[in-house]
Structure formats: structure tokens, C-alpha cells
């Protein structure tokens, strides 16, 4: 991979830092009038998700990371791996549980996810922002109680548990925002 100098740093650039691929979130050029210039950089470690801040001398360079984001369709899970397919080439990739991470509690077959490939293998998976999933387990619904603000936990078919309004019942389909894990609404004609 090419090396990138601090003057090429910009948000979204993927770099290797201490052996791990990282993505630049923010880059600030700092230079005292008579002093050495440096770059304060906020990065996300793409393996661990941790955000770290580093200060580089301007002119230093870091190796680029072979990291690429790609839309892929989730196919199935065979107990060991989760399989994703590139829509154009139909090429399949197997992702470990570690790479799928928190996404697994939202994934239904055929969902289109953003899969981050690192050296050609899935490093992380971002599920669709909104998913529609069936409730498989919750306290009996209080029909008609649609006005009150109360809520109760409901287990969804993919394994996630979300807070839903009291009137919902097992078998109802709900829309959920996967970024926050929040209930967005009931899907009427499921």
C-alpha cells in the first residue's frame, strides 16, 4: 500500500497504526508561528472500534490500510461463519463472529449490509440503518392501550431485545433503527 503524508490526511482515509487498520475521523493542522507543525488526528481502530487521538509531526507518513467498504447481501450462517455476497460478481465472503459483532442481532437473510474488507476479508459489518423484524417473545399486549407512554421489552426473531409500546404482541412486526436500537413503529400489514 502507498504511504500517506500528514498533508494528505483527511477524514475517511484508512491507515495502518500499530499494526491495526484505522480510519481518520478528524485531522487538525496545528502550528505555532515559530514552531514545529504537527497534526492532531482522531482515528477509529477498525478492528476494535476504539477511538484514539494521536499527534504526528507534519511531514511524517503512515502506511495506507488495504481497507474497502462494500455493499453486500447477507446470505446465511452455517454455525461458524456468516456469509455475504457481492451483488455484482456474486463473490462470497465468510465473516467471523468477531467481524459481524453487534450486527448479528439484527441480520436477516438478504439484508444489504456494508461490509468492510481488510486485506480482502471482512473486518466489520454494519447492518441496514432500519430493519423490520417480528416479535417472538413479549408480555401479552394490552390492546387499545395506544396512548400511554409505557413500554416493555420484546425479543425479536433475530435475537435482539428492544423496548416496544405496551399494545404490541407476539407476531407483530416492528421497525427498528439499528444505530440506536430504538423502536420506530409497527409495520401494519405484516
Amino acid at each position: 500500500m502507498a504511504n500517506y503524508s500528514t498533508n494528505e490526511f483527511r477524514s475517511g482515509l484508512k491507515l495502518m497504526l500499530d499494526g491495526d487498520p484505522c480510519s481518520i475521523l478528524e485531522n487538525e493542522f496545528v502550528k505555532p508561528g515559530k514552531g514545529q507543525a504537527f497534526n492532531r488526528v482522531k482515528l477509529r481502530n477498525l478492528k476494535t472500534g476504539r477511538v484514539l487521538e494521536k499527534t504526528f509531526k507534519s511531514g511524517e507518513s503512515l502506511e495506507g490500510a488495504d481497507v474497502m467498504d462494500m455493499d453486500m447481501q447477507y446470505l446465511y450462517n452455517d454455525g461458524d461463519f456468516w456469509y455475504f455476497m457481492e451483488p455484482e460478481s456474486f463473490e462470497q465472503h465468510q465473516a467471523t463472529e468477531n467481524a459481524v459483532g453487534d450486527a448479528l442481532q439484527w441480520l436477516s437473510e438478504q439484508d444489504v449490509c456494508v461490509v468492510t474488507l481488510y486485506n480482502g476479508s471482512p473486518l466489520s459489518v454494519v447492518p441496514p440503518n432500519h430493519v423490520e423484524l417480528e416479535i417472538v417473545e413479549t408480555d401479552p399486549g394490552l390492546r387499545g392501550d395506544t396512548a400511554q407512554g409505557g413500554s416493555k421489552p420484546a425479543k425479536l426473531v433475530t435475537g435482539a431485545t428492544v423496548k416496544v409500546p405496551l399494545f404490541l404482541d407476539q407476531g407483530d412486526v416492528v421497525k427498528v433503527d439499528t444505530r440506536t436500537g430504538e423502536y420506530q413503529g409497527r409495520v401494519k400489514d405484516a
Partner: protein, 320 residues
């Protein structure tokens, strides 16, 4: 081309025009003469951390000037008296939310004054500029470098050994600072840790470390430590200006040039020929004086509450 338009509103242009007029009037009323000096010259600063933009007049070698300092000092040596220059300066590789490679600089010199008198005058000027905007008086604080540094870091900036400063610099940033010079470690620590702790308003930090003297004279502080008679000015935590009780000794000036050039060669940076005209002017005799340079775009940023220099420049580098 979508970005043919200026990056500033008409109101911002008017604000800049009003600021420039206020600055000129301030000096006119005090009988400080405006001078207009070249921005293109055959030589430039040798400073290790300032890069000049090379130019090729008539196919030869030249540089866009990083400040009007050397030309102004040649005028002072001829007997021009108190002078100011309000114009453009250029620095290569400096671009960010507080930097643009071309920027406006206000620089002035007061003959027979020391750096503390000049700081007082600057406080009057900045207070005047802000008085037009707000009924709240501008808070003004003066603090020596070792006080600011010691309060935040608990380290004696002038007395601490290099290993301790390097250790603190590494802890504050990354391993790549382990072998850095004293001046670079101090700058890093000051920028990252001390600047954010400076009080709001206008802050003068004086008696800079001797290793960062640039073109300032040296003297001993109350503790008997050698420090430079250099000050920096911060406005709400942002570096705004840099001033000196000026070095007038041509032999020492030449030594500093030679030291800079040796450092540049060691660091693999392009060598810059020293300005022999300046040395000759100092040989002829420059009056004792204090001088300061102020970033006009940053002052406008503060006046307008802008968080990026591009917001106050009609055409920042990205639009040029």
C-alpha cells in the same frame, strides 16, 4: 466550476474593510508611518520551522516573503523611525482551520521602546478594535512563559532537562517525539496543554525560552535564568501575534542565521541563503526597538466568531 464564488458574505467583506481602516487610523493618529515593502525577494528567512514559497523571477531564484521583517529592519536602519506594514505574507505547507498559505500580517516597530511598552500598545489596539463590537471591556492578562507552563504542567520550562521534556511530550502525543529538540518539545506541550488553559480575552506571554529566541535579544529573568525577550499574544486561546525586543547585533544575527542553516541541512530541508542586506543594515546600525507581527485574518476570525480562517477570506487557497 461551482466554487467561483467568494467564500465570504458581503457583510464579512465590509467587516474586513472596517478592520483594516481601524488599524491604519490607529497608527496614523500615533504618527507611525505606513511602509509598503516587497513580498518577492531573492532571499528569505532561514528559520527551521518556516518554509518560504519559492518563486522564479526572470528564471532565477526568489521567495515570497514570510513576513516584512527584514525589509522593515533595513528601513529602520536608514532612520525611518516608527513604522508599520499591513500586507500579505506567505508560508508554504500551512493550511488548516487557522492557516492559509497566503495571509494578512500587520507588523510594526517602535523605536526606543521595550517589549512591555509594545505589549501595552497592542492591548490598546485590540481593545479599540473590540470596543466597536461590544460594550464589555476586553480582559487583558500578562504572564511569563515559565508561570503559564509551570501552572499547567508543574515543570520548570527553563530549568527542566531535555529528557523530562521529551518524556512529557511523548506522554502528551506519541512515541515519534522521543528524540525531539528542546524547542519542539516545549512547543508541543505549550500548544497541546498550556494554550487550552489560557484565560479568555487577550493574553500576553513573555520571556520565552532562550532556545526559541528567533530574532529577540536574550536577558536574565528574576530567577537568573537566561530567557529571550520574545512575547506571544493569544486571543481567546488562539495565537495572534509574536513580538521581540529586537536583536540589533549583526554578529549575533549572523550566528543565528548560521545556526538555522546548519539545522536546516541536518533536517534535510532546503537551505535558504542568509540575508546579507539585513546583516549590512545591522552593521550600519539599527536603533534599539521593539517589533511585533499580528495575524489580521485571525483577529477578524475572533471579531466575527468564525471557527475557520476560510470563513473570513474571500478566496482561501481552496478557491484560488
Amino acid at each position: 466550476m461551482d466554487n467561483w464564488q467568494p467564500g465570504t458574505s458581503l457583510a464579512m467583506l465590509q467587516s474586513r474593510a472596517a478592520l483594516l481602516a481601524t488599524l491604519r487610523q490607529f497608527f496614523f493618529q500615533r504618527s507611525v508611518m505606513e511602509v509598503d515593502v516587497p513580498v518577492l525577494a531573492r532571499t528569505s528567512v532561514t528559520d527551521i520551522n518556516i518554509e518560504s514559497i519559492p518563486a522564479m523571477p526572470y528564471g532565477g531564484s526568489g521567495y515570497l516573503q514570510t513576513s516584512p521583517e527584514y525589509f522593515m529592519k533595513r528601513l529602520l536602519s536608514q532612520g525611518a523611525g516608527d513604522i508599520f506594514c499591513l500586507g500579505k505574507a506567505f508560508r508554504n505547507g500551512e493550511q488548516g482551520c487557522r492557516h492559509n498559505p497566503e495571509f494578512s500580517l500587520l507588523e510594526w516597530y517602535r523605536c526606543g521602546w521595550d517589549e512591555h511598552q509594545l505589549m501595552d500598545e497592542m492591548a490598546e489596539l485590540i481593545s479599540l478594535v473590540f470596543a466597536a463590537r461590544s460594550s464589555q471591556p476586553l480582559a487583558v492578562t500578562k504572564c511569563s512563559y515559565e508561570e503559564c507552563f509551570g501552572q499547567t504542567l508543574g515543570v520548570d520550562a527553563h530549568g527542566a532537562d531535555l529528557a523530562e521534556l521529551q518524556q512529557r511530550a511523548v506522554a502528551a502525543s506519541s512515541d515519534s517525539w522521543a528524540g525531539e529538540s528542546r524547542a519542539n518539545c516545549l512547543d508541543l506541550l505549550f500548544s497541546l496543554l498550556v494554550e487550552p488553559q489560557l484565560p479568555a480575552g487577550l493574553v500576553f506571554v513573555y520571556d520565552y525560552p532562550a532556545c526559541q529566541s528567533a530574532l529577540a535579544q536574550l536577558h536574565n529573568n528574576a530567577q537568573g535564568q537566561q530567557v529571550s525577550r520574545r512575547f506571544e499574544v493569544f486571543l481567546n486561546g488562539m495565537e495572534l501575534a509574536n513580538g521581540y525586543f529586537e536583536l540589533t547585533d549583526s554578529a549575533e544575527q549572523q550566528q543565528r542565521f548560521e545556526g538555522d542553516i546548519a539545522q536546516r541541512i541536518e533536517a534535510g530541508k532546503p537551505p535558504i541563503p542568509m540575508d546579507r542586506h539585513l546583516l549590512a543594515a545591522l552593521d550600519h546600525g539599527m536603533p534599539s526597538c521593539a517589533g511585533v507581527a499580528l495575524g489580521v485574518d485571525r483577529l477578524l476570525m475572533q471579531l466575527e466568531g468564525a471557527d475557520s480562517i476560510a470563513q473570513v477570506l474571500p478566496f482561501s487557497w481552496d478557491r484560488c
